[in-house]
């Protein structure tokens, strides 16, 4: 059983509290992502799980065993580092088997493990090379091989892909995902890259300022962000966040928007109607993702949750698969995602369809969701 429980864990450096009570449970075989901007405490938390940093208060349990008092070697973990941390004076083979040697595993068993891992990661040809003779991607594989050889209860990854170039990063991402599915391993993976977080994780813990802002599946974090920070952090380009006044029209609660000219009304989804009604007449922040403002008329005509508006276009950014169109709503730049073959020019107006079913609303002061 390879579970991980983080129970009210805090970390203090003197008077400074860098982790303010973290509670996370990771199931056997689960892939958990810790994501957040630098300084959010994600790497500190990982180091505490590994035993490389002490726990100020709270408990961490791996496989039902509290490891607070155990040294890293007794925690049954393996870790892959951002810098790979390959031992420069050892061949790839010795790098992989070092941990087994230290643990006094019999020689033949060591060899067997090295060969199995090398085959799995397709690094058999590299076994007798030194780390300095390897490319970045190969080093990354060896670092993973070293972790795999140990067959631990828990794998820890500390931004393992951030030193790779973009193309290799995508490849390795796919490979890590495949590996996870094949091995059914329990993994805690730290990254600051929200795309990595979305593609790899079973669940994502979005952290900031030493706190977990949301712990949920990638889709949930994307569609249903817990607060303003998560909404702005996850997604690229990020969610549009617009200040707007709450109003009611035809018995529905919603917000008023304008593009410099005419004001128009966007009704809130049914689920938020009652929650938002308390805010009638006050300002909130409304969140709408770029792909929810499109030129895609094919999905059908206007409905109550789909509104077409003709708005003035400021800037057009073709990206290849999509074209991003910048407009102004309530004096805030807003990104919309349109089909690349749609002809839109800066300064013109365009018909854009607003998908209202996924509108989210935030308290502008407390930055919490209004539900």
């Amino acid at each position: 059983m390879s579970t991980l429980s983080i129970i009210n864990v805090k970390k203090r450096y003197g008077p400074v509290e860098v982790l303010k009570g973290i509670n996370i449970d990771v199931e056997d075989g689960e892939f958990l992502i810790l994501v957040g901007p630098s300084g959010c405490g994600k790497s500190t938390l990982l180091n505490m799980i590994a035993g490389l940093d002490t726990i100020s208060s709270g408990e961490i349990a791996i496989g039902g065993r509290v490891v607070n008092d155990l040294s890293p070697k007794d925690r049954d973990i393996a870790m892959v580092f951002q810098s790979y941390a390959l031992y420069p004076n050892m061949t790839v083979r010795n790098n992989i088997s070092f941990g087994l040697k230290i643990r006094k595993i019999p020689k033949d068993q060591q060899e067997e493990t090295v060969n199995r891992v090398a085959k799995l990661l397709q690094i058999e040809a590299l076994l007798d090379r030194m780390p300095s003779q390897l490319s970045g991607g190969q080093r990354q594989r060896v670092a993973m091989g070293r972790a795999l050889a140990r067959d631990p209860a828990l794998f820890l990854f500390d931004e393992p892909l951030s030193n790779l170039d973009a193309k290799l990063r995508v490849e390795m991402r796919a490979e890590i995902k495949l590996l996870h599915e094949r091995l059914d391993a329990t993994i805690v993976y730290v990254t600051h890259d929200q795309i990595e977080a979305m593609t790899l994780g079973d669940r994502i813990a979005v952290m900031k300022g030493g706190e977990v802002h949301q712990l949920a599946s990638p889709q949930q974090v994307y569609d249903d962000p817990a607060d303003l920070f998560v909404a702005g952090f996850i997604g690229s380009p990020p969610m549009n966040l617009i200040r707007a006044s709450v109003a009611s029209k035809e018995g529905k609660i919603g917000v008023d928007l304008h593009d410099g000219g005419e004001t128009f009304f966007l009704a809130a989804p049914d689920a938020v109607q009652s929650g938002l009604s308390a805010w009638n007449g006050r300002e909130v922040i409304v969140g709408i993702r770029p792909e929810q403002i499109t030129d895609d008329m094919a999905r059908g005509p206007e409905r109550t949750d789909r509104v077409k508006r003709n708005v003035k276009v400021d800037v057009v950014h073709p990206t290849g698969p999509d074209t991003l169109v910048l407009i102004q709503l309530n004096d805030t730049p807003v990104t919309c995602r349109v089909h690349p073959e749609t002809r839109v020019r800066s300064g013109d107006t365009a018909d854009l369809m607003f998908d209202l079913s996924k509108l989210v609303f935030f308290d502008p002061d407390k930055e919490t969701r209004i539900r």
């Binding site: 890293p72 870790m79 140990r150």
Partner: protein, 293 residues
């Protein structure tokens, strides 16, 4: 920087180069002159010295002065030459160099890979120790060596040189290990290696260059030391530098300049040899020692 000459005409460029090389050669001659004088004087006979001049080549080459300096020259009233003192120097320099380098390596390892609260303060404290004029510790140290029962002994000199060499060796290793990613230590800890295993198996194999730097620096410093030698040892326990100075200052009989020069060369040979063999590392030590400033 030679690019800057591209703007000049060929003629003035040629002249400039000639002046440049002339200057460099003049300086080289100036720096080599004392060595030349030492060597030629040491193989001259006394008559030759009196008859000729400083830079005259020897009439005939005689190594008598060398043998005398090594075996029979008088230092004070003893006439046994420098050989005993040379061996004294070897017998405390070697252990002092090895111990201070090893301890320095451990200190550097702890100060970079196993930092704890207060370890930086400690390092700064140690660093300031590089700067004190040693006169300020001579009197208490003389007393302390007496209490410890190692006054005027080889172990006493080893002790003193290790104590006051640690600041430098620690500095060398610490500044080197700062450039080694600490993730290596973390990875090894997770792999199950302990404090000493990581040191011997991971960190030390990365360190040959800095070990050479430290050994050469310490060797040069301790071999060339005069102050500790003259204060903390006497008689036949004295290191070679002190014996050389006494030999030169022994005023009985005729002044034998050729013996003095032979003795000076004998005292200088070991460090000169190290410099010729491993000058690159010697320079690295010097500049690393300078970085402390």
């Amino acid at each position: 920087m030679a690019d800057t000459y591209q703007t000049q005409t060929a003629g003035s460029q040629w002249l400039g180069r000639a002046v440049l090389y002339a200057l460099l050669v003049v300086f080289a001659v100036y720096y080599l002159m004392p060595l030349f004088v030492m060597v030629t004087t040491s193989v001259k006979t006394l008559d030759d010295i009196r008859a000729g001049n400083l830079i005259a080549l020897p009439q005939e080459i005689s190594f008598a002065a060398w043998f005398k300096a090594w075996g029979t020259a008088c230092i004070g009233v003893e006439c046994n030459g420098l050989k005993g003192n040379f061996l004294n120097s070897v017998s405390f320099v070697v252990p002092a160099v090895l111990i201070s380098t090893l301890v320095g390596a451990f200190n550097g390892y702890v100060l970079t890979m196993w930092r704890f609260r207060g370890s930086d303060v400690l390092f700064t404290m140690l660093l300031l120790g590089c700067f004190i004029p040693f006169q300020v510790i001579l009197l208490p140290m003389a007393q302390t060596l007496g209490y410890l029962g190692i006054a005027n002994s080889i172990p006493g000199l080893i002790f003193v040189h290790v104590v006051y060499g640690l600041a430098f060796t620690t500095l060398f290793f610490r500044n080197f290990y700062v450039t080694v990613p600490s993730d290596l230590t973390k990875a090894a800890r997770i792999d199950g290696a302990g404090f000493f295993t990581i040191f011997w198996r991971i960190i030390l194999p990365l360190s040959p260059a800095i070990i050479v730097v430290s050994v050469i620096w310490q060797f040069t410093q301790i071999w060339n030391d005069f102050l500790f030698g003259v204060v903390f040892s006497s008689g036949d326990r004295q290191p070679i530098t002190v014996a050389l100075n006494n030999l030169v200052n022994t005023s009985t009989g005729v002044k034998e300049y050729n013996v003095d020069m032979s003795a000076a060369i004998i005292a200088g040979l070991p460090t000169l040899f190290v410099y010729i063999v491993a000058g690159k590392y010697f320079l690295r030590g010097l500049t690393a020692g300078a970085v402390k400033g």
